[in-house]
Every structure is written in C-alpha cells, then in structure tokens.
Symmetry: C2
Subunit: 273 residues, 2 copies
Amino acid sequence: MTQEVLADALRQRYREVDSATPAHWNPVLQVLHEHRSVRTYLDTPVSDETLHLLISAAQSAATSSNLQVWSVIAVRDPARKARLAELAGGQKHILQAPVLLVWTADFARLRQLAADHDTPLEGADYLESSYVGFIDAALAAQNAVVAAESVGLGTVYIGALRNHPELVAAELNLPQQVFAVFGLVVGHPDPAESARIKPRLPQAAVLHHETYKLTEQRKHVAVYEQRIAQFYAEERLAHSWTERVLNRLTSAASLNGRHRLREALANHGFRLV
Amino acid sequence: MTQEVLADALRQRYREVDSATPAHWNPVLQVLHEHRSVRTYLDTPVSDETLHLLISAAQSAATSSNLQVWSVIAVRDPARKARLAELAGGQKHILQAPVLLVWTADFARLRQLAADHDTPLEGADYLESSYVGFIDAALAAQNAVVAAESVGLGTVYIGALRNHPELVAAELNLPQQVFAVFGLVVGHPDPAESARIKPRLPQAAVLHHETYKLTEQRKHVAVYEQRIAQFYAEERLAHSWTERVLNRLTSAASLNGRHRLREALANHGFRLV
C-alpha cells in the first residue's frame, strides 16, 4: 500500500498524461479507485458470515429519513440463478458466481406497518417515494460492493433484471410494493481473466464549480473518446464510446424491455402520482 | 484497527445482545461500518486536491452501460450555499460546512452529443432512464462519502434539495435534462458534537434468502422499535421509529413539496414516458 499504487489507479482511470500526485492515500481510497466490474468467476462459495458483513455494511449507508425502504434477496439456488440469468439476457456470470443479490425498493414493510396502525401512507404513492426507494437501495448496494472488494471478492451490477420485472418478481415471490431495482453478482474473481480499470470521462466533464456548464462538455467528450479508444484497442475491440452510448438510448427498442418500466411498477402497486 | 473495533461498531448498529465476531476485518470495513451523518461542522476548508480525490472515487463506481449520466456541482460560495440551505428547509449544516456537493442526473451531455451527431435519443425520454440517472448519481455519491470518511471528513445527504427543484436548478444554472437528485454536505466534523452510530433494522428484516417474506417483518420491526428507543433515550429524545416513518409518508403534504416531483421533472425536460 503506497501512494504510488493509488496514483497508478488514477492514471488508468483517467489516462491523463500529467496526472497530479493524490492528496491522500489509504487502503479505503485504494479499494475505491481499483474497482472494476468482474464478469468471470470461480465457483468458490461465499459464506453466510461474509454475506452478513456485506449486508451490515449496506445497512450502515445513509437512508432517507431512516425509512430503510429497501430489502435484498440473496439467491444461491443454481436453478433459480439460471432462470434469473435467462431473464437478464443470458448473462453467464450470474450462473458462475455463487451469489446473486437482488436489491429492491421495499414499501411493503411500511405498508404492512401502516395497515397494522390503521394509518394512511399516501406519501408512498408519489413518484418521489419510488426515487427514495431506488436511491436507498443504490446507496446500500454500493457499500456492499466496497465491502466485498475489500475482502477480495468481485462484483457486477445487473441492470438487466429490469428487463422483465414481473417475471423476476414472480421468481422471488415479491409482494406488491417491492420492486427489484438491480441485481449484484458477488463471487471470487477468476484470476485467469483479470478485468481492467475502465477509463472514465475527464473529471472536468462531471465536476462543475458553483454552476453547471454545458457547452464545455463537447471538448471533454472528444478527449474521452480518444482515451477510451486506446483502452478498447488494448482489449482488441473496435468500439467508440459515442456510438455505444447513443445506440444504447436511441429508441424504446434499445432499452431491452425497460421502456415499459412505468407499467411494470404500476403492476407492482407503485402508483407514481 | 482491530477486529474488536469493528465488532463494537456492529454492536452499536444492531444492538443485539449476542452478536457474532465479524468474519473479516480491515480498514475499509471499519470506515463503512462506522458511518454516521454529521450535522455540525467546523469552518475548516476542504482543498481542491481532496475534492478531486472524492470525485475520482465517485467516478470509479459502476455506471449503467458506462453511460455516466451524472454530474456534480461543488458549491462553496457562502451566499449561494445560504440560498440553497434556505430552499432545503433552513439546514444550518449547509452553511457551516465548506462544501455542498449537488449530485445530478445528467442527460444534457448525451443530448448535446446526440444532437451533434444528428441522432435520436428517444430512450432518454423513458421513466427507466430517469432511474438510471438517479442510480448512477447515488452509486457515485456513496463512493465519495466513503472516500471522505476515510480521510476524516464528515458528510450528510440533503434530500430536501428536491423540495423546490426549479429554484435549485435556477441557482445552479442547470439546463434542461439535468436534475438535482440530492445534496451532500462535506466538511470537518465538529469534535465537540460527535454523532453516534444509528441503529438499523435487524439484518433479518432486510436480508431474505431465495424469496421475499413479508409477514415475518412484523416481529423484526417490533424488535427494532425497542432497540432504537434505547438510542433515542440516550439522545434524550422520546421518539418512536414507527411514528416517525409513518408520519413521514402519511400524505402528500408530509413530503414537503416533493409530491410535485413529477411536474418538476417534466419542467426540466424529463418526459418519463
């Protein structure tokens, strides 16, 4: 653990020629900066004891007004994982890794509590509350990711669990008011296939001071296009970031079923007023 | 740094009588588990160099399909912070701390890119895409929180920035398709007023195995109600968690303006089809 290892992670992340020496270094910054999504796993199990630590880390994250409107389902049954992998477009790492954590926005717990107290819970019907549930789940999951990486595990988020929300809900027995936000694969990375740190937009593109600036984004995106092309070339891919992101969002069809998320949420009791 | 320090954080988090020894311990798990929201700050500045490290940690988080549909605005100008504090219900810690980071879901960068390439970006009009922006912003912000705490800084999320979205957008010059998801106060905690670890629901309430179980939630909530009452009593507060969360969501009015989030997003160019 040295400042130089962190500096190296920063160089890989930004691919800037003259990057400054980091102002601090510690094992936490190291783990955060070395993140990469892992898509090849060994079949080594993850123990319940380790899982409990990932979830206590998740519960230690902030939660809006201490509402704690999220839950997580740990799926280890190979047959269930296989069915969920199929629903997520056939992602093989869901099968390979020992655990799939499905993070949900959960208003069922509070609905039940409100019903038991004969109290209305109309605030939960608003679009705002769905965002609170999604944000709470995301903050919790990200803490679990950092905890997992700190003990040598790898992870990858599975947004494609939103492709077929009703079928995912049926598989997990999700009641009304519980919605699967995303999956998170957790397992031991296959050392034979080590994922690399993916470059991100120059920091100047995402960090604004005092007020937001739009037109300056053009030059930052142009620089990024060059830098990530290098990365893709090293991976023997002829990708363009611009093409890829524009294709991803070009039409309803490019959302792989998620264009009907509003309907799916309504089917799960989220009125989204 | 010892296993015992982590075990102590876990005892404070769950207040269970017979808590198990943690399966792992390292400085990362320690920082994650010792999180508390800080609401009293010194006026000591946070340097640009430190801020850059928080943002590089944020950019190191996963982002859906590498879209990177978020931006953050660092507000240090005391007058602007004062106006934003007012819009967030007069939270004094926004004034006290040297930096307010405003995290946004940002589709303006990609809209501009799509326009420059004369390409449609219809996928961005869907409700799904707004969740992607909110989730991306949350994953990034949570990494910044962990990085900040690792270097001794404190933080607190400001969801109340959604109380008056149009006024917040005007203050930060946010263009169409950029929406302030939440604020994050960052600064040096006042050592005279040390925040304590807040207890969370028993892990059995939020962690489910294979399928979701609803009725069992009742007993976990009842246990929690007792445990957090202890915490409140130590803080000389006569609160009940159940009362507080049910009040928070009882009606449109209890959302402090956020019941009109749908309208506010529409005003900012999010169609949410």
